[in-house]
Subunit: 218 residues, 4 copies
Amino acid sequence: MTNGLKTGVASTSALRRQREREQRYQTILAAAERLFASEGYHGASMENIAQAAEVSVGTVYFYFKNKEDLLVQLLSDIGFRIRELVGIEFSRADASMEGFERAGLAFFSEFCTRHPEKIAIFFRESVGQGPAVEAIRKKIFDKFIGDIVGALERLAKNLGLAFKSPHSAEVMAVSIVGMYERVSYQYLIWRDRSRELPMVAADALAFIVGGVKNLCAA
Amino acid sequence: MTNGLKTGVASTSALRRQREREQRYQTILAAAERLFASEGYHGASMENIAQAAEVSVGTVYFYFKNKEDLLVQLLSDIGFRIRELVGIEFSRADASMEGFERAGLAFFSEFCTRHPEKIAIFFRESVGQGPAVEAIRKKIFDKFIGDIVGALERLAKNLGLAFKSPHSAEVMAVSIVGMYERVSYQYLIWRDRSRELPMVAADALAFIVGGVKNLCAA
Amino acid sequence: MTNGLKTGVASTSALRRQREREQRYQTILAAAERLFASEGYHGASMENIAQAAEVSVGTVYFYFKNKEDLLVQLLSDIGFRIRELVGIEFSRADASMEGFERAGLAFFSEFCTRHPEKIAIFFRESVGQGPAVEAIRKKIFDKFIGDIVGALERLAKNLGLAFKSPHSAEVMAVSIVGMYERVSYQYLIWRDRSRELPMVAADALAFIVGGVKNLCAA
Amino acid sequence: MTNGLKTGVASTSALRRQREREQRYQTILAAAERLFASEGYHGASMENIAQAAEVSVGTVYFYFKNKEDLLVQLLSDIGFRIRELVGIEFSRADASMEGFERAGLAFFSEFCTRHPEKIAIFFRESVGQGPAVEAIRKKIFDKFIGDIVGALERLAKNLGLAFKSPHSAEVMAVSIVGMYERVSYQYLIWRDRSRELPMVAADALAFIVGGVKNLCAA
DNA sequence: GATGAATGAGGCTTCATTCAT
DNA sequence: CATGAATGAAGCCTCATTCAT
C-alpha cells in the first residue's frame, strides 16, 4: 500500500505466474484431447501426453491428479461448451419450435464441425471408463436433458398444450439427446461427412419437430 | 450315415465331442458377458473370465483368438439377436407405422428387460475399444439402420409419400437407433427403471411416429 | 483306480510339478532374503530380485502378492525357525535355568552365525515398514515372549518361587528378547564378531540368569 | 558490541534474523518429527513436511541438505537429549546401583512418556534407512553404551569387584540398551501402556540390577 | 532468503499371451 | 484338448531434488 512500485512489480510477476500456470494447464489439456481422440483413451499413455504437451510426466501430475482426472476435466469442459452453445438456444425457446432448430444447428453445424475431437471424446472415448467417469457423463447428460425438458415445458405452457404422459417431456429430451449423439457419431466419426452435416441436421431437426408435436396435444 | 457300426460309434462320440465343444464355447462366452457387464471390458481379466467359466486360461485361448475376439463374438451374437427380434418387425412393416411400434416394444419391453448385460456391453463396454471392435459395431449399426431404412421406404412407397430429402430415410433410421440407444442407457443402465420402461417406450415410439410423419409428405 | 499305470504317471508328473513349484518359491524367497539383507528392503527392487532368482518379474508376482508379501513370508519363516531352534529349549526348561542358557547358545552360536541375513532382515530391514509388517513382527515377538514367560512360570512353580509383581514374568521376557536383539545387532551387524559371539553370549546369559534370580523370591 | 549506533541497529536486526532462522529450523524439524512418527519415514514426503511446517519445499532444502539430513538432525537431537537426561545419571553412579535405577526411571518415566514420537523415530523409523543413518545410530548407541560401561567400571572399582570376562562390561551395557529399547517399544509403541510404564520400569530395573550383580564377583 | 513449478528416474504392478507337459 | 506356470512389455504414478524468479 505504501509502496506502489514494489506492490506493482510483485503483482505483475504474480499475475504472469498465474497466467503461465493457466497456459500450461490448457496446453496439457489440449494435448490430452488430441491424443485421446486419435489414439483412444487407453492408447494414449501419460508419457505420450507429456511429450505432446512438451512437459515432463511429473508436470502433468502437478496439474492433474491422474489420468482419469485429465479425462474428467476434458469432459467438464466439453459439457460446459456444449451447454454454452446449445443450451442457451433451448433456454430461449418459448412459443415456437424455432429454438429447437437453432439449437440443433448450433450443435451440428458449429460444434461438431469445429470440434470433432471433443465429440469423439464425449461420445466414444469416455464411454465405459469406470464409475467416476460415468458419473460425470451422467451429470452432463442430465443437465442437458434438463435444459431440453425446460424448453419443452415452456413451449407447452405458452401454447396451451399438454403432454401425453408425465414422462413425455423427459423421454423426448432423452430421445433428442440420443439423436444428437448417434447422428454426430454416424456422420462425423464413422464417416467424415462434416460437409453434409448441415443437410443431415435439417432432416434430423424436422424429425424432432414432428416427434415433439406428436407428444403434445391441445 | 451310410457306414456301419464302427463309424456309427465314432460319429456318436464325435457328436458328443462336438456338443461338448459347443457347450464350453457358450459357457466361456456367457462368463465373459457377465464379467464385461459387471466389471467392464478392461476390468475383467482373462484370468477372471477363465475362473468364472471354470476352465483354464489356455482353454479360453483355444476357443477364442484373444480377448478382443471374445468381445467381437459377443457383439455378433448381440447384434444377431437384436435383429432377430426387432429387425423382423421392421421388415414386416408395410402400409402403416404399426411395425415401428411393435419393433420398439420388442426392443424396450423384451430385449432390454431380459438382457440388460447385453445392452451394457453393446452400448457401454464395446465403445471406444479400438478399430476392430468399432468396425463390427459399425457393421451391426449399419445393418440395423438398413432394416429401418427398408421399412421406411416400403412405407413411403405403399402410402405414396415422398421424403423431404434424399438423406431423410437414413437420417430417420439413425435417429431412431440413437433414441433406442440413449433411452435404454438412461432408463436401464444409469437408473434401473426397467419396470417403467414399457411406458417410457410408449412415449418414445409416439415421438418416432411423429418424427417420421413430419419427414414424409404427400 | 482301475488304471495303475496312468494314475501312476499322472501322479508322478503332478508331484514333480508340485515339487518344482515349491522349489521356485524357495528360490525366489532366497533371492529376496539375500538382497533385502545386502541392499536393504527399499534398495532391492522387484526387478533385482527377479534377476537374482533367475525368473521374470511376472513370475515373482505369480508366487507372491507383492513386495510386502515377500517380506512377510520371509519374516514368518524366520520367526518359525527361531522358535523351532530356540523356543524348544525354553519349553524344556523346568527346574533350573539351564534351559535359558541352552536357548541363548542356540540363538547366538547357532542361529546368528548361520543366518546373519535373517538377523539383518528381522531386526533391521523389517522395522518401520508399515502397519502390515509391524503386525507380523509383533505377532512373532509376542509368541517368543510367550515362550519365555511360559518357561519362567514353570521355573517359578517348580522351585516354589514367586515373582515380584504381576508384570515381572512378561517384563523379563521382553527384556531377554531385547537383549537378544541388540546383542546380535551389535556383534553381528554393526561389527562382525561372529567368532567372539559365543563368549559374548556367555556373558549375556549370565546377565539374564542374574536378572531372573533378582525378580524371583522364595 | 563495541560499535556505535549503526552497528547496534544492524546487530539488532541481525540478531532477529538469527532468531528467526533458528525458529524456522526448529519448526521444520518439529514438523518432520511429527510426520516421521505418524506416517513413517517413507510415508512422509518433503512436500508434506513443508506443508506441516507452513513453509515451501525450497525452504526446507535451505535449512537441510536433504531428507536424510532431516532424519540425521532429528537423531542427533534425540541422542543428545537422552544422554542429557539418562547418561548423566549413569555418570553419577559411583558406589551403588542407585544411579542405574535413577537412569532407568529417567528414561522410562520421563523421556518415554514425554516424547513417544522420539522413541518411535529412534527405535522404529530410523532403522534400516541406509548406511549414513545407520552410522549415526551406531554412534549414538556407542556413546550411550560407553556411558554405561563407564558407570559399570566405576562401580566395580569402588566396590572392589571384578568382571567375569573382559567383555562383561560392554555386554552388560549392550544388554541394558537392548532392554530399554524393546521394553519401550513393547509398552509404548505396540501397546500404549504409558501409564503402567513406571511399574514395568521397576521390574526391568530389578532385572538389570540382578544381571549386573551376577556378572561381578568379589 | 523464500517460493513452488518443473523434472525424470525409477518403482511397483498388471495382464494378455504363449507353450511345454 | 486342457492346463497353468512363465513371460515381459508397458503402464501409472511418486517424490526427492533443483533453480529461476
